[in-house]
Homo-oligomer: 419 residues x 2
């Protein structure tokens, strides 16, 4: 593996509000929202004529919206016809792949400026069909006929992690509590409430319905109760990310043109991608994702950084257990040690290594094909000191990382950002 032959910057990034938007908004509307938001975040402005290509990440508009061929569709909406408009897919890592391939395309010398689109509208179909569509990101030859949808697969992973490292359900709950605390501060997040606020409002609702006042001592007590039902044991409702519609947009530019757009570019100095057998039974380990280890190995090597150099990260918390695995597989913590770090508050906004300041997939939402690009939006804001409300980290972020996972670990894309 060699290095990118050109230096490349992220010069603008933006996103739509994440939430359930159907039928008011669908992919075209959400993408236009994201495009406009990203354009507003380019210091010196950017126009379609400045952009050479539109790289679209989307998991399966095929199954969610009966619309394939999203590349030219999205490009046309923002005035980029007849420029190249490929679509990239790697399940929930689709726009992470679009970002990576855009970097390679600029480094190739063929393009100078690329708009990366991540987009997904999941709420157009009923929840059971969402689960069914998502299952197409796992192995549908063996796992799907056996009834293993994603909550079930990640439940198996969580159980194995509990068994091997003594991780507990409460450890997972702390990940969700932390991510909701961040999501509350993100005006683009789907759920802008802390778990505590959710608990209080649930309590108030029950009382108003004439029921007995629940005696929840704190968030952990609330999340351990029947108010937080099991989806697939040991995973409960609040261990799962959301069904979300949304889009994100990134503008990437080669060094020699980046200064046209901004004086404070965010350089992308590392990219890595790994893969694994789709089915869990074809892997050596349930508690470590080989795709994450491989992707981060490549990205660290390319950037010349090590895990200790990273100051903030957005990681792929499709389930709370996935954030624990990511913290370990990315080398931030030794295997089996991440849960303790979460408990100690190290991954909070004011901790030693803030993780998912955006709210993560758990609270910001998870429009699967848009997630990878949206992670870069948060890093862009944090590195420029522009994160909204009260979630801007206090340190000057010089080095950051995003971790975008596909399926039950079949694909991983890791990206490293530097000032």
């Amino acid at each position: 593996m060699g290095n990118l032959s050109r230096k490349i910057a992220l010069v603008g990034a933006g996103m739509s509000k994440f939430g359930q938007h159907f039928p008011t908004k669908r992919n075209p509307d959400l993408w236009i929202d994201a495009w406009i938001n990203a354009v507003e975040n380019v210091d010196n402005g950017i126009e379609p004529k400045d952009v050479d290509a539109c790289y679209v990440g989307n998991f399966t508009a095929d199954l969610f919206n009966h619309q394939g061929h999203l590349g030219p569709n999205m490009a046309n909406l923002v005035g980029l016809t007849p420029k190249p408009a490929p679509r990239f897919e790697g399940a929930c890592a689709s726009s992470g792949i679009a970002l990576r391939e855009a970097l390679l395309a600029i480094a190739s010398g063929v393009h100078d400026v690329i708009a990366v689109c991540g987009v997904e509208t999941m709420s157009e179909v009923p929840t059971t069909m969402v689960t069914d569509a998502l299952s197409a990101a796992a192995d549908t030859t063996y796992e799907y006929p056996a009834g293993a949808t994603f909550p079930g697969l990640y439940a198996a992973i969580a159980s194995a992690h509990f068994h091997e490292y003594g991780t507990t359900p409460e450890d997972l709950m702390r990940v969700g509590i932390k991510n909701h605390e961040n999501g509350k501060e993100n005006p683009y997040a789907q759920m802008q409430q802390t778990i505590k606020e959710i608990m209080e409002s649930k309590k108030a609702r029950l009382i108003s319905q004439g029921q007995e006042a629940p005696e929840w001592k704190d968030e952990i007590d609330f999340l351990s109760s029947s108010a937080n039902p099991y989806i697939a044991s040991p995973l409960r409702l609040f261990d799962c990310s959301l069904i979300t519609d949304g889009a994100a947009c990134l503008f990437l530019a080669a060094e020699d043109v980046a200064k046209k757009f901004t004086d404070t570019p965010i350089w992308i100095t590392g990219t890595g991608q790994g893969s694994a057998a789709l089915s869990l039974h074809d892997r050596n380990s349930l508690t470590s994702f080989i795709a994450t280890r491989e992707a981060s190995r490549q990205a660290y090597q390319m950037s010349g950084l090590s895990p200790n150099d990273i100051q903030i990260a957005e990681v792929h918390d499709c389930f709370t257990i996935a954030e624990i695995l990511a913290m370990e597989d990315l080398g931030f913590y030794e295997k089996g040690k991440a849960a303790e770090a979460v408990k100690n508050g190290e991954s909070k906004r004011d901790g030693a290594l803030p993780i998912n300041t955006s709210g993560g997939l758990k609270s910001k939402g998870h429009p699967v094909g848009a997630t990878g690009a949206a992670q870069a939006v948060e890093i862009f804001k944090q590195m420029r000191g522009k994160a909204e409300r009260n979630r801007q980290v206090k340190i000057n972020v010089e080095r950051a990382l995003t971790h975008n996972l596909g399926g039950s670990g079949g694909t991983c894309v890791v990206t490293i950002y530097q000032k």
Copy 2:
């Protein structure tokens, strides 16, 4: 648009037999067939350890096979885990995009050798569902609810071409007759029969059933009869490509490592990609594809060649009218002049510009996501003098082109090959 910063060669290419293989074979089996066939075509051999990444082109295994996330799935089958395995989609141009992005990835300096996979299994679902799945490659906001599936869209295009340039149904039939003459000579083709042979066998069958012997004078007479029913007027059954399962595999290598694999590499000197609004009503012309014009403009510019330099071409004849449009939009013939060239035999194997010596999508078959890569397989064989049976062209091919179209012209990828 700049040039590729490294010189890149096609060092091996192969494909599965095209046909209707379900349930005996599905995507994994077809891809393994293609991989083995391509490995056999690498002069000095190639092994998984030599390959840096697996670039997978597939239109919609989501809808055809309820399996997304095909990248890591295909990579794992040929020993490429945990290397990068993105999937690319641009409808029927999906593996043309995979090929193009692999070129950019090698030129970027990050990878040296990439395996390109094109794969699709269409016959797993009934024909009506194939038509429905394919319609997701066109606009499903306006066209699909109006009932416009692909034969209908291309019928509108054909009608407009008839109106503007006086093209006739017989002109289209000659495209099909020519492509079947080529497909007969391709052991990997789905239909290895000429139209004349199909006519004779149909005649024999009718007679054996005690019916009157049909008085078909020649192929045109046969194709103009009720034996060749209308699908969407003016397009008849034999104007349409086939429903096919198949896969193709290409090995690409940077110049500095290409010599390890072969002494006679085929250099890829031009790549271009264009896009258009998905819906026909959003375009300025029905009789010319802006995506093709843009893709070929880029590819010609990069290679320094002009249409007159091209000696053979594989073009995207999803419908016979599409081959006529391609011949014109690629600059081989002036607008409205291609039909006459076909009539004069110029696009036949021994003509001035042989087109679709493989049999094209019409006779070789059209497993949509595999088609772009399979076009490169034919060019690889023709340029090395290795085309099977009687279809090897007599000239020494130094310069060739492939044209891979997505949907009703929403995407086009053009690739130029030189010795």
